[in-house]
């Protein structure tokens, strides 16, 4: 528990120094961040709204990383899932009791489909999924943008698909923000994964192969198959996050609606050490920071990107393995030997020679 807080503390100090350099008062800025996110029901509702997609993406990243797969394509998977949700939500006239689940399933399919690309490339052709995922993110943005703007656009001066039908909308909680019932889906997914990780065979297999894929394979685990399933599930969860945005927040698919939820998900996952319950807490923290950041952006000349600096400074520090005994915890570097282990660019046969 100590390390994430320590990392966050250092990040806050670094941020404060930056604010000073720009010529503002760090204490005032941090107060605005805090109050803008957590003080008063309207602010809390905005925080809740922002935190919801972060739970989805943080969970998606956690599932994959835990199994040893570097799925940083969550942003693209969320976009594709959202797009599918936007289509099905708009085009399928069904009663809500059928329409909502159908749309959610469509979103999961979209996300899983987009995740299948790096998954298959990794398993069949040994292609580094990291760079493929990073490439697929802008491709997803451009592709969904193309369909939205050039083919299926809603009438009028907007860049969105037509609105989803009322039967596909997720109810919102209040007038202060677009926080909606999707958060229950998010929390439900987290609880589901607590169960999966701890008590199912699949969760056990994912954990072991994340730490040592060769050992798991030899031990009879279908590592290639499980790797694909981990990526597909991860993509599906990311897609669900997209569905929440389309069905609950915007009520339509907007081109470019995501301000980077997928990447923030990486920060959330790391802060949470890939634990589903930790994801909820970390998403709450980062959600609060971003919601406060929006207020910051409007009322000061400090950009909301201060929050991004804070987040990724935290990630950087968490990734380090300081050699102080009491900070020793499971680190992604050491333990995730994994399918995505540190790549030697050339294989090194001699070193393994007996």
């Amino acid at each position: 528990m100590a390390q994430p807080l320590a990392a966050l503390a250092v990040a806050i100090i670094v941020g404060g120094l930056l604010v000073l350099a720009i010529g503002d008062d760090p204490f005032q800025i941090y107060w605005i961040l805090f109050s803008g996110s957590l003080v008063g029901v309207p602010n809390l509702m905005v925080t809740l709204q922002i935190m919801t997609p972060l739970i989805f993406t943080g969970l998606a990243v956690s599932i994959a990383f835990r199994a040893g797969l570097w799925n940083i394509g969550v942003e693209g998977q969320m976009l594709v899932g959202a797009f599918f949700a936007g289509l099905v939500g708009w085009l399928a006239p069904l009663p809500a009791i059928a329409h909502i689940p159908l749309t959610l399933v469509a979103a999961m399919l979209g996300g899983a489909l987009w995740a299948a690309i790096p998954a298959l490339l990794r398993v069949k052709l040994n292609v580094n999924e990291l760079v493929v995922c990073l490439m697929l993110n802008p491709i997803a943005l451009l592709l969904t943008g193309y369909f939205t703007i050039h083919l299926l656009k809603a009438p009028g001066p907007t860049n969105k698909l037509p609105d989803v039908l009322a039967t596909a909308m997720l109810p919102q909680f209040s007038l202060f923000s677009q926080a909606n019932a999707g958060v229950f889906i998010a929390l439900g997914c987290c609880l589901l994964f607590v169960l999966i990780n701890g008590a199912t065979v699949r969760g056990f297999e994912w954990k072991i192969m994340g730490l040592n894929p060769a050992f798991a394979y030899y031990g009879g685990v279908d590592v290639p198959g499980r790797a694909i399933s981990a990526m597909l599930v991860s993509g599906a969860i990311a897609g669900l996050g997209g569905a929440e945005e389309v069905m609950g927040v915007y009520r339509a698919f907007f081109d470019g609606f995501s301000p980077g939820y997928g990447f923030d998900g990486i920060a959330v996952a790391m802060l949470a050490n890939f634990n589903p319950l930790g994801v909820i807490a970390a998403a709450g923290l980062f959600g609060a920071l971003e919601s406060g950041g929006a207020v910051l952006q409007m009322t000061t000349n400090i950009s909301k990107y201060l929050v991004e600096v804070l987040q990724f400074t935290t990630v950087l520090i968490l990734a380090a393995q300081f050699s102080w005994g009491w900070l020793r915890r499971r680190r992604i570097g050491g333990s995730h030997q994994a399918i995505g282990a540190v790549a030697e660019p050339e294989p090194n046969p001699v070193a393994e020679e007996a």
């Binding site: 199912t200 954990k207 040592n212 001699v350």
Partner: protein
């Protein structure tokens, strides 16, 4: 050979602590000029650690080191090299896609202007060096193209290029054919005669008796004795290593094999990682109720053969059957067919070092603890506790990471996991590697129990003593082919050693590469 010269290396009361564990307690040993000094001990006794301290890879916690009469303290290998100490490691430290010359000169490269390397100068120096010491090599050859024996020559030349006066050789013969071993011993003696000192770490007692001038025995982090190699026997050394009389052969009843083979390999061929022919038309069978030992120097196709059997490599021809049924394509399928595989590579394939002991014991048994999609964690943990007790795995707690166990206990975890299934065929790779003598006895006894229960046991080992100790039948592999298949009573280590080196026993021109005779001094 100087008889009473001042020591060139003197280690006094060295101690080394790693965290809370004491790897070396109090080690004192001296090495004279021009002598071959063997350092023997069980795995984990601290031999390599002690030499790593001398070479500057590891820093000592206490004690003094003198080199050439002066007190020294090497903070890194660079300083040790500068002083005149060279080390040839058990796992070669070579860069495979670079040339022999480049590997030799690395760190002390001959230069031209502007920071360029004098490539031709490097090659000629390497050539001169190899000729001077009788270790012929082509300086332009890529390391990846060289067989293991030649690679070791490069390692030795590396040390000699830096003008090492003391050469530390860590388990040098593990990867050599008997012929190459003999050549190495000749080289060592020549170097010693020229005034170099050689420290030779090994656990192979016969080799020690064949080459060393003096022998230091290490046990549990301390040097217990330094004796001259005159009239000493292997049993005496073994007793010093372990502290009690040691049985160098396991006691077992005569085998009563059934008539039907449970493991059959027919006409198997497979390619190695670099596309070379590794397994060449291999046919062998292991019947129920017998132990077959596969003898061979490492690198002759055993690894690839076992990988084919385990489902980790795809053969290019031939068939493998377990219990009469053809092999599946994945390890999972083969386990289901009744194969239990105990790999040599404990760090990667055999165990998950960072996972808890209970997790390591549960993998491969997931079917037993499955309740629909769920895992019966409590039951799996209880079973793990039971196994820890039954196999006497010391130092194991359910959640402690497997890497915290000693080599022997890690091996026991692997065995506990594999041998409690309903396996018909047990394939054990290098079972005693990295395991101390006491634990080896237990492991061998377990394998014999399996045999007596009617299973097929296939043991692969580069250690001829182990092969002879445990096998009922011995099969020898050389360059990917089976060159001998004999009952253990019908052969001797010497004959098997010849087969391992590719010399056929009935060949009229055959030389003797005696493994048991002492080499002429």
């Amino acid at each position: 050979m100087d008889a009473a010269s001042a020591p060139i290396v003197d280690l006094r009361h060295i101690s080394k602590r790693f965290g809370s564990s004491l790897a070396i307690e109090d080690a004192s040993v001296d090495v004279r000029r021009g002598e071959i000094h063997a350092l023997v001990g069980e795995n984990g006794a601290g031999k390599t650690t002690l030499m790593n301290i001398l070479y500057g890879i590891v820093q000592r916690s206490g004690g003094e080191i003198s080199f050439d009469g002066r007190p020294v303290s090497f903070a890194n290998p660079r300083e040790a090299i500068a002083a005149g100490i060279g080390m040839v490691h058990q796992h070669f430290k070579l860069a495979a896609s670079f040339t022999v010359a480049e590997n030799i000169i690395l760190g002390a490269e001959p230069m031209r202007s502007l920071g360029r390397i004098d490539v031709r100068g490097a090659e000629s120096r390497a050539k001169a060096l190899s000729e001077r010491y009788g270790l012929a090599l082509d300086p332009r050859a890529l390391i990846s193209s060289l067989p293991v024996g030649l690679r070791q020559r490069v390692e030795i030349l590396k040390a000699l290029y830096r003008e090492a006066r003391v050469l530390i050789l860590d388990e040098p013969t593990a990867v050599l054919t008997p012929q190459e071993t003999r050549e190495l011993f000749i080289t060592m003696r020549a170097l010693a005669d020229q005034g170099h000192s050689i420290i030779f770490i090994t656990h192979k007692l016969r080799e020690v008796l064949a080459t060393a001038d003096r022998i230091s025995v290490m046990r549990q982090g301390a040097i217990v004795s330094t004796i001259a190699n005159a009239g000493v026997t292997a049993e005496e050394i073994a007793r010093l290593m372990v502290g009690r009389p040691v049985l160098l052969r396991v006691m077992k009843r005569r085998a009563k094999p059934t008539s039907e083979p449970l493991l059959e390999v027919e006409g198997l061929s497979a390619l190695g990682d670099r596309g070379e022919a590794a397994v060449d038309n291999v046919t062998l069978a292991v019947r129920g109720g017998e132990i077959v030992g596969l003898a061979g120097v490492q690198g002759n196709g055993q690894d690839e053969l076992i990988e084919c059997i385990a489902g980790l490599r795809v053969p290019t021809a031939g068939a493998i059957r377990i219990g009469g049924k053809p092999l599946g394509r994945t390890p999972a399928a083969n386990r289901a067919a009744g194969l239990a595989y105990i790999p040599a590579d404990r760090a990667r394939v055999g165990l998950s070092p960072h996972s808890g002991v209970w997790e390591n014991l549960t993998i491969g048994h997931l079917g037993e603890f499955r309740l629909g999609p769920f895992l019966a964690v409590g039951r799996a943990r209880r079973r793990a506790s039971e196994l820890i007790g039954r196999f006497d795995v010391r130092g194991a707690e359910l959640d402690k990471p497997a890497q915290s166990l000693s080599g022997g206990n890690q091996q026991k975890v692997q065995i506990a996991r594999e041998l409690t299934r309903d396996a018909k065929v047990i394939v054990a790779e290098q079972p005693s590697q990295g395991v101390d003598i006491g634990a080896i006895e237990q492991i061998h006894r377990t394998l014999v129990e399996m045999r007596d229960a009617g299973k097929s046991v296939f043991v692969i080992s580069a250690d001829l003593d182990e092969i002879f100790s445990i096998s009922d039948r011995i099969v020898v592999i050389y360059r990917g082919r089976i060159v001998a298949d004999v009952e253990v009573e019908a052969t001797t280590p010497e004959q098997v050693g010849r087969h391992m080196g590719g010399v056929h026993a009935d060949d009229p021109g055959a030389q003797s590469f005696g493994m048991t005779e002492a080499a002429p001094g």
